[in-house]
């Protein structure tokens, strides 16, 4: 069991979360920290929208929700000359197991998101935006409602913002419990008042998005980074991190560490340093495995992680992905079969049922891992797990199928001996724990 932290400390290199104490989330506090200066600057100087997009491109900001797509490039896909409504949507439906960073941005610094979305709307010519908030965090939704109301009252949202002639309406939308809605087109369906089932792509949201209109969807942390880029320049942001990996990144560290929590570090910081910030492995035990980017990212053994830096390219080179920045730490006492079993159940539970390989395959994977865990595994199950995974990957409309398959393949690849032990001896190599 974890204990509450006595005070908020996101690390010495924090930018997005710097100076936040839990109480200073209001508009007046944000303005005191230099908030809304970036929006005021581009509006008063009438900076051309294309120049804002160029600055974001220069920053090498990449999507913080999981895919890591270059943000400026995504923005440039929006049709500039389109005559009708265009939308900007924030994906705050944070439900990737291990991830809890957007919640801290939303509750401790909601105006950074509002300002980031307003700048994005200006850059892409959107007059309306929605912030889709995870269903389970009602108190955070209420705070965002208050923050948005403050921004309207102060003239940072609404009609003719700061007398510039630029209009932007922003509203919060409360989800109600569906992991799949973190997928951007499922989120759009949900926002339209339907079941959250992903759409075929193409067409991509930039041409056919919310209500069939051009739409850009970014993650909360991505939008919250934008005011910093506009205030200090794309190059400043880029230099916080590494080439192609600009900026700082909030990592949510959970599992077997002494101080679980959010730590904001420069991209490229060694994993060993991040682990140290989180107080090291709990109880002084040895590190066994780490899932470095949320439950959908491949697991990596301790030795590989301890030699890896925390940025998109380094983690990809190590054989996993940075994903949402959720670092799930497992110590030497953990059973890899049992751990995978819980993750496989999650994907089975959350598959929307639209595509056969995912709907049927996630259940099949879970049942196989479950029987291995419960001493009923068969020798052929190990190859079958890989085969079923391969037959899901790349054969579904959205990435949930791949997300279900990648943990299975990586757990079996790196910890095959533990699965074999379960099949041979009908029990764990470690003591039961979950």
């Amino acid at each position: 069991m974890n204990a509450p932290r006595e005070f908020l400390d996101f690390g010495p290199d924090a930018v997005l979360l710097a100076g936040l104490n839990g109480d200073n989330w209001r508009l007046a506090d944000y303005v005191k920290r230099g908030g809304y200066e970036a929006l005021a600057k581009i509006l008063s100087a009438k900076v051309p929208p294309a120049a804002v997009v160029a600055e974001v491109k220069k920053s090498a900001l990449r999507g913080r929700g999981g895919a890591g797509f270059p943000t400026g490039l995504k923005w440039s896909f929006m049709p500039q000359q389109y005559a009708g409504d265009k939308y900007v949507v924030c994906n705050s439906d944070e439900g990737e197991p291990g991830t809890f960073k957007d919640r801290d941005i939303l509750r401790y610094n909601p105006h950074s998101l509002i300002e980031g979305m307003a700048i994005a709307a200006y850059a892409m010519g959107c007059a309306r935006g929605y912030n889709y908030i995870h269903g389970e965090i009602w108190d955070v939704y209420e705070r965002c409602e208050e923050a948005v109301a403050e921004a309207y009252a102060a003239g940072f949202l609404g009609k003719d913002i700061l007398g510039s002639g630029f209009d932007f309406q922003l509203h919060n939308h409360h989800g109600f419990g569906a992991y799949i809605c973190g997928e951007e087109t499922a989120l759009l369906e949900s926002l339209e008042g339907k079941k959250g089932q992903p759409r075929f792509k193409p067409p991509f949201p930039a041409s056919y998005g919310l209500y069939g209109r051009p739409t850009t969807i970014n993650n909360t942390e991505t939008f919250a980074s934008v005011p910093w880029i506009v205030r200090h320049g794309g190059e400043w942001f880029l230099n916080l991190g590494r080439p192609n990996n600009g900026g700082t990144k909030i990592f949510s560290v959970s599992g077997d560490v002494e101080r679980p929590g959010n730590y904001e570090v420069r991209l490229g910081t060694p994993f060993a340093r991040l682990l140290e910030m989180a107080g090291g492995v709990r109880g002084g035990r040895r590190l066994k495995a780490v899932i470095p980017g949320g439950s959908s990212a491949p697991v990596l053994p301790a030795a590989i992680m301890m030699a890896t830096d925390m940025d998109y390219d380094s983690i990809a080179k190590a054989g996993s992905m940075l994903g949402s920045g959720a670092v799930i730490v497992m110590d030497e006492t953990r059973c890899m079969v049992k751990s995978l079993c819980r993750l496989s159940y999650f994907y089975y539970e959350e598959s929307c049922g639209q595509c056969t390989p995912c709907r049927e395959g996630t259940g099949w994977l879970w049942r196989m891992v479950d029987r291995i865990e419960n001493g009923e595994g068969r020798q052929e199950d190990l190859d079958l797990l890989n085969s079923v995974s391969d037959n899901i990957m790349g054969r579904t409309i959205c990435a949930l199928g791949d997300a279900a398959a990648m943990p299975v393949k990586s757990f079996v690849k790196h910890f095959r001996d533990e699965f074999q032990h379960h099949i041979d001896h009908k029990r764990c190599v470690v003591a039961p724990y979950l």
């Binding site: 069991m1 974890n2 204990a3 509450p4 409504d85 944070e94 439900g95 990737e96 197991p97 291990g98 991830t99 809890f100 957007d102 919640r103 309306r128 929605y130 995870h134 269903g135 389970e136 965090i137 009602w138 108190d139 509203h171 939308h173 409360h174 989800g175 109600f176 419990g177 569906a178 992991y179 949900s190 926002l191 339209e192 008042g193 339907k194 079941k195 959250g196 209500y211 949510s252 560290v253 959970s254 599992g255 077997d256 679980p260 929590g261 959010n262 439950s295 959720a326 799930i328 730490v329 497992m330 953990r334 751990s339 819980r342 993750l343 999650f346 539970e349 959350e350 929307c352 979950l434």
Partner: protein
Amino acid sequence: MLSADARARIDREIAKYPADQRQSAVMSALAIAQREQGWLSTAAIDEVASILGMPPVAVYEVATFYAMYDLKPTGRFKLTVCTNLPCALSGGAAAAEHLKARLGVDFGETTPDGRFTLREGECMGACGDAPVLLVNNLRMESWAGGEKLDRLVDELAAAADRGEGAPRGGEGGR
């Protein structure tokens, strides 16, 4: 029938979307109805459909797709415990087992006295605060293990006996 207050809150949600996109308010309208009546009866779903000008089946699709809607009455307090891997590593699974033993029910069941419904939850986006549980979808309890969990159950049991929490049975909009 929904109260005037609930109708007013639904109207505020409708106003967030373009005039021809009232359906976008269906998730919040259902949430508001559930909060007021304790669960979503067919009558409540039909009423939401009529308010938004949607076919009832389209509202029913939404109500059955998202995990936090209840299509059957629950206990006064619905406890949803996250047992996903990051939480399980930090006491989430143990908290769930403790609740099962203390309340004498499995996941998905309601205690015979109608005080509690226990649910297994998926990631609530608060893994650093494990164990984490939700009370009636609205109130998140962090670090809810050990004695704190027992105190919470005591507090809610007393509240249930005072008639607080979700409306029960006949009050549920039939």
